[in-house]
Symmetry: D2
Subunit: 245 residues, 4 copies
């Protein structure tokens, strides 16, 4: 009898990076896709299931403790004897660009809620499952955080977004140091550039391929996942060849 | 008739750095000391007033929007025609050191509440007053954040504290870039070592002077405040000569 | 008629990383292996040629301008109509660990000679060939520098090694920014840990797999080479799961 | 009988930062000024001596071992029973901005020669004298390196300068870690902006005070020198209020 399929969970699935990551991991694993609204994950869930893969979608607000607990309860019911091999936190949160004095407290905390609290709730739910998969997995169970340039530099008028991403980077480092020795691979992926999705179609650049293809990000995440434990990459930057940095 | 005295406001006044900073700035300015409990600021307020300086204390919870608004309303009543020359955010927050899976959401968010939300509320209340002081001040109006090594490195079991301090660093950078050109000096001060206060008296070191004297931090803050606008320091590290780093 | 085979050149081939990188790239390309002494590259050259690959070895002192020029003259003669798809600079140089006052000028400059001057000479020889390969290559032509933790932190008693590695990182960043827009992928790879080779066999660790397998580094380099130009990684860290950082 | 005067040595004295640093330290110490050409230090030496201070000039090529040894031999003869309280390495070196393929080896190594080899030779000559001053000094003996943004970021077309400054930063960190516990204060000062000197007079900016006053850098260096050993700053950034960073 075949071993039960391993799973990956991806939080933050819309038409961009999340969908591409889901498709890529669905080539090897069953996938659970989390997004606030079903309309965000449904097209990808259907596409994967119709293509011979296995996918489920769970409506989840990652900044809400009960919602995340519920999502992982549903996931565990599906897991059965299977294991969670990978968890990808791909929640961007609202991007607020405003002068500091124009920020409401709600504006300011939106970065934290998605990238701090959300990343915490997701990690705390996923890590016990990832730990449970260490002995059984082909690749070290992996937790990846999609991050941004704003994790490295606090720009003017970006306080809300940068505080959230800086916090996420701190969390990723802390988890890498605590759970690495237990065999779990934690990675903080700095996406430095515009991602080539529907929403950015109108961004014009002087060069071809100046936007990051979400499929290339997905390939990178999969590759990180396959690194053996003698060779973990804990932080990676990704940018188009013409990006200024 | 003499010009009205300039003011400094210090949030986070206990027996350590906050008190020393208050004493130092009180040599030149009137000072407003913010702490959650009156018992924390009262001894310093009395000491300064008895020594010929001018100090007031305001009970404030920096993580509470109304409390901060109220504190600055009280401060403005005292300011009168005076100007706010310096604002020092010295709130450490609870230091939680726990394995990640032992953290409650409340534990985890305590770092953000003090160092993220608290720093935001304090900055948003202080910056209009600092801007109003640019033309009139001897030294560029200054906003200093007391930070820590945890702003640079997310250690294992320190996720709650590190996320807060990383976020504070992002905020400090963003404010420095937005308000520097307006003549306001924003500084992120990384205190890397044990501060020599009552609470750390029992920490034993192999060398003399292995803890940071809070008076030396206060001297450093005052010196940062006196830098002219052609020569701002936006990030500074402070550590004892024997500290490993 | 088949297109002429593409080539990779690897400088710094001994029994460790260099040999593994050579083996990996030899699965797809012809490879030229540079080392000071023929005894360092010969076993790998023979192994690759006997295994159906194509390899040449060229005795080269990377810190010597004429020696590097000669090596690339030999390489170009072999290239013929082929293209140089990848260049890996894997020269460590002497590791000097001494109190600063015990360093001779020669000791101190040994880090620069290998990692600064050597990296410069190698890059200046390789880049025109890599540029010439942009249009014809399956993957963006790639220049990778094997680096170390010492590129990020200058430790006590490691001034000679750290100055060389810091300089190499500066060079890698500068080249990435200048040649990235021309379609060349430049990467600075921070190897943070002990590599598992003959020379480190006696290093004892408390955990299995606590040393980095050179084959895993080679896999990583190959993967970096295959990234498309919409998704370059310019700096990567690599460490075993139990490494302190 | 009065104690013999303490000394400071400044390498790299021209009309800018070096001269201002010399003037500032000459208010408290005798000063030795090193520059390649006498015409660079002579005006400042005369100005200080005519103003009641004590200064000597020594023609020195900091990249030449014998020249540096000779300079410190001359300095020691002047020191007599006096102590060396501070050593400032302010040698910029040639600023080469060229496409990488246009760099000669000589161009490329010019950054290293000034900021790597020069900083090494100066440090190795100064440190024994600074160590000898630890017990007797009012302030911890201090070694300051004037650095630049290029120590933090390798920009395109700046490989020669950036490799030198990265190397200098590595050296400064290594020395801070080795000699800090012996009571010597080592600081790496990142000057991020245009300095306001004769040579930059024609640089136009939209704002007043957009260039860094060399006197303000000198004040900063003096302040660093006066920090007590419980509170060392090992890295400091300095930039004008309107500088982009």
């Amino acid at each position: 009898m075949a071993a039960p399929r391993a799973w990956a969970v991806v939080a933050g699935v819309g038409p961009g990076t999340g969908a591409s990551v889901a498709r890529k991991f669905a080539q090897s694993y069953s996938v659970a896709l989390l997004a606030r609204k079903a309309e965000n994950y449904e097209p990808v869930v259907n596409e994967i299931n119709n293509g011979g893969g296995q996918a489920i979608g769970i409506s989840t607000d990652v900044a809400d403790e009960n919602s995340v607990k519920n999502a992982f309860k549903v996931l565990q019911e599906h897991l059965g004897q299977g294991k969670l091999a990978a968890a990808i936190f791909n929640v961007g949160g609202k991007f607020v660009r405003k002068g500091f004095m124009e920020l409401s407290l709600e504006d300011f905390e939106s970065g934290w809620e998605a990238n701090g609290r959300g990343a915490f709730l997701f990690s705390q739910a996923a890590l016990p499952l990832l730990q449970d998969a260490v002995a059984a997995s082909n690749h070290p169970p992996t937790l990846i955080f999609t991050s941004a340039t704003a994790a490295m530099k606090g720009s003017a008028r970006c306080a809300a977004f940068a505080t959230g991403k800086f916090a996420m980077r701190a969390l990723a480092q802390s988890l890498a140091r605590e759970f690495g020795p237990a065999g779990i691979h934690v990675n903080h992926a700095i996406i430095d550039g515009v991602i080539d999705i529907e929403r950015t179609k109108h961004y014009q650049f002087d060069h071809e391929d100046a936007k990051i293809k979400p499929e290339a990000i997905a390939d990178t995440y999969w590759w990180i996942h396959t690194q053996p434990r003698t060779c973990f990459t804990n932080e990676i930057d990704i940018r188009p060849y013409v990006e200024k940095w």
